[in-house]
Amino acid sequence: MASLPTPNPQPTKQTPATLNPEALGERLQQLARSSGIQRWDLGASCSTDTSVQVDRGEAKQMKGAQRSAITVRVWNGDGLVGITSTSDLSDGGLARALAGARDASSFGNAEETPAFSPLATAPLASLEQPLHEPQPILTLLDTLKQAERDLLARHAAIGTVPYNGLAQRSSERLYLNSDGARRHQVLTTASIYLYARAEETGRKPRSAGAVRLGYGTADLDIAGCIEEAAERTIAHLDYAPIETGHYTCVFSPEAFLDLIGAFSSLFNARAVLDGVSLSQRDSLGSNLAVPFLSIRDNGLHPGNVGASAFDGEGTPTAPLDLVEGGVLRNFLHSEATARAFGVAPTGHAGLGAKVSVGADWFEIGATPGSDGGQQGLNRFSHAGPLVVIDSLSALHAGVKASQGSFSLPFDGWLVQNGVSRSIEAATVAGDIRAVLQAIVGFEGDAKITPDGLCPYVWVEGLSITGEA
């Protein structure tokens, strides 16, 4: 049996993993030079996480994690790119990653070779992201136990909170390249989610939840999370089936952002070039939506907790108007897609042999200066029946992004004559292009969610399938 060091009577704290950009850059440069590699770049991350889950007043699981990962790209003598990823940041691991990337470069795509972003050394926006010291895990446990107790106490029918968690993370990201680009970001974040299950005698169980994000556990709006989870769950207790048919629907901010996110290939230059987007190269300038709709990608919005200051290629994150006055204005780009379109990278790239492109955080609402559609919409003073879509499920299965169609289960309410009643079970189906052209207007103020900023959105004529 091997001997272990003498026990330390002090409780062990997990030491946050750290990245040293200078040291890592120097090590990689040396290893690259000794392998005859002239051109390389690297994305790295490390994080330290702790999280807890509870079950009816007891700890269910407590977790800690220390993770590190790097992705190395190298350009070979023919200018082709290869890549390798590893969680091994030792010298041996870096050397193996470089060798792997060099081997993979023999299979690089000569028709589309990524290059360094021309903006990889451009100034970054300053982000207001306070760093928080992690709390001891037993403190997290006490906090979550209390949150569970408070939520269970909100209604006799709420019997359990089967999905819950309180988590905190300290993380670092960096991007380096052989031309001297050096990006480094340090971040702390925290999150809580509470998903309650309620059941009344002789009726089906119902469930709903809420989530909150912050820069540290002290920042989290736990009371708001409990309130929202309770309100949503209780509001679904009195349910009834809905008749299949076509309805005017009111999407919650979360549901509409989910829908737009699932069809974000509409705005994605990578998907356009690959032929799997509903948009074409020449779609810019076309009418995609009603003339009062704006969609902006803005990863720098202060509501975007944990925003990245730069993308996987080191390009600064920046706001980008995607749809303005219903007109498609811009696509999201990586370095390679931007080059293909003759524009500048937009800060939405990953890092890979084939670089992915993705949206950051949407701002959706009325185009400034437009009429914003119908004014003063209020579901409780509307004459006809309305379906309020509170949350969508199974987007991975029910969305055909390249075809435009969707068919999704949802939780929501039928509002008739000012009275709201939960819908037992139903799906909503449609085509995203038709949805964007059938927006009637907006209800209420825009709300900040983890995925973006959006008000309630009214859409006419969607197909609802119920069990009545």
Partner: protein, 474 residues
């Protein structure tokens, strides 16, 4: 201290002294059980689009997950640092989560690790036996070329290949000491067809475990024909009319309905959470008597097969439902401690970063006495689901899954193709409505995402008939 990478390169009996020490320290601190999971991985992903290789993505990694139980509670810590210091720090953190502190007290009740159960020895050649990158890229390009040959109006053609190799070592303070090597290979073909306003996208996945030669044996032409025939049909399909109707679900990936609708509810993780309606139904009828359902990890080459689970236990053939009666739940260490259901070799996890949980392996409804045609002939008006997309199950048992390729059944005959269908329902209500099972059981590879990450699984069934189900559509 040796370099991290050097340590990771060998999982074998030489780890015994270090693991013994860690486990003894954990038990000495007062833990009921300590488990250490070590992992080393080697992955290759290759993508061909149209007639070009557009991505080759190698990745390798390593790590450890340390879990400490005290009563029904547990603490879990994962780390990429396999040095002595890194593992000790992870153990101490996991102990600390349960209010335990390492002391100099000798461990009571820990007799040391047992003999190494070596499931890896016969598999040492697997990684080198896999196709080279050159072979893989040529095979994928053959796939996209065959798609071009057989398809019409194809706007995008993709073939993808993933090879996942994993070496694991599991040690626990109950004496468990076992190592294994796993190899999973999967192939995907995806197409998008477009003709004017008509668009249809479709894909197929093929996957096996423990067969290094698998990609070489792949019949790219047959797969391409299959995909192109389906997408050609669906390109001009109308949207399905929504409503309640009988449905016949084809074999192979049709088994996702049982996986989502019922299988997840028979995992002890759901019993622990109180989210399964079947928790107290063992011995009771929960499905139509036509239904017998099995979960096992034994079928040679199947995607969900294992030599041992991620807790070092050999898998079983577990009969979940027999003639409609609930027989057993799938259970892991935590499930056994918290629910009393005996372990079934079903403790699984995506990687060291996840604590194992009770998860499905190869899960299927057993074959019945009917022919597939008899099922279709028994329906006056309904839906035939030839190919399924993905699905999910919610916290109160509602399930949903997309129909990728569907046809109307009218007067006992398949008529026109329809698209946009989603099947929704609740397990408790649908299981008694599976009234007929055909005699053509087949399995299909898939991935399942849940509490312990994304894992390799097999779903399967013969053709089955559901007497009534809600079909979402337009």
């Amino acid at each position: 201290m040796p370099a991290v990478g050097a340590i990771a390169d060998g999982f074998d009996h030489t780890w015994r002294p270090r693991l013994d020490s860690l486990l003894a320290a954990g038990r000495g601190a007062g833990a009921d059980l300590v488990e250490i999971f070590l992992e080393r991985t080697d992955h290759i992903g290759v993508l061909a689009e149209q007639d070009t290789i557009t991505s080759v993505s190698p990745a390798f990694g390593m790590g450890a997950g340390i879990r400490v139980f005290c009563g029904e509670r547990d603490g879990f810590v994962s780390t990429n640092d396999l040095s002595d210091r890194g593992l000790l720090q992870a153990l101490e953190q996991a102990l600390g989560m349960l209010g335990l502190t390492r002391t100099s007290t000798p461990a009571l009740g820990f007799e040391g690790l047992g003999a190494l159960a070596d499931f890896a020895g016969a598999k040492a050649h697997w990684l080198n036996g896999c196709p080279s990158l050159t072979e893989a890229t040529l095979k994928l390009l053959e796939g996209t070329a065959r798609l071009a040959h057989h398809g019409r109006h194809l706007q995008a053609r993709r073939a993808s290949y993933a090879r996942d190799w994993q070496s694991v070592l599991v040690a626990a303070s109950d004496g468990t000491f076992a190592q294994d090597i796993r190899l999973h290979q999967s192939l995907g073909l995806n197409v998008l067809a477009a003709d004017g306003e008509h668009r249809a996208g479709l894909g197929r996945r093929y996957g096996t475990s423990g067969r290094p030669d698998d990609l070489r044996q792949w019949d790219a032409d047959a797969s391409a024909q299959d995909v192109c025939a389906s997408v050609g049909t669906m390109l001009y399909a109308d949207y399905v009319e929504a409503g309640q109707m009988p449905a016949v679900l084809a074999n192979r990936f049709g088994g996702v309905i049982f996986h989502e609708a019922c299988g997840h509810l028979l995992e002890t993780t759901q019993v622990e959470r109180g989210t399964t309606p079947f928790a107290d139904k063992v011995g009771e009828r929960i499905a139509h008597e036509a239904v017998t359902a099995i979960d096992e990890g034994l079928t040679d080459g199947a995607f969900g097969s294992l030599s041992m689970d991620d807790e070092g236990m050999e898998p079983q053939r577990t009969v979940l439902i027999e003639n409609g009666v609930l027989k057993r739940f799938l259970s892991d260490r935590a499930g056994q401690r918290r629910t009393g259901h005996e372990r079934t070799g079903s403790g699984r996890r995506q990687s060291h970063a996840f604590a194992a949980a009770s998860r499905m392996r190869n899960t299927f409804i057993a074959a019945g006495p009917h022919t597939p045609d008899a099922l279709i002939a028994s329906v006056d008006k309904g839906l035939y689901c030839k190919s399924m997309g993905g699905g999910s199950v919610g916290p109160t048992g509602q399930f949903n899954f997309a129909v990728e390729e569907g046809y109307l059944i009218e007067n006992g005959q398949l008529t026109k193709p329809v698209k946009g269908a989603t099947l929704i329902g609740e397990a408790k209500e649908v299981m008694p409505r599976i009234s007929m099972c055909a005699n053509d059981l087949e399995l299909a590879a898939g991935f399942c995402g849940s509490v312990s990450g994304s894992i390799f699984v097999t779903v399967g069934q013969p053709h089955i008939k559901v007497d009534s189900i809600t079909v979402g559509g337009r």
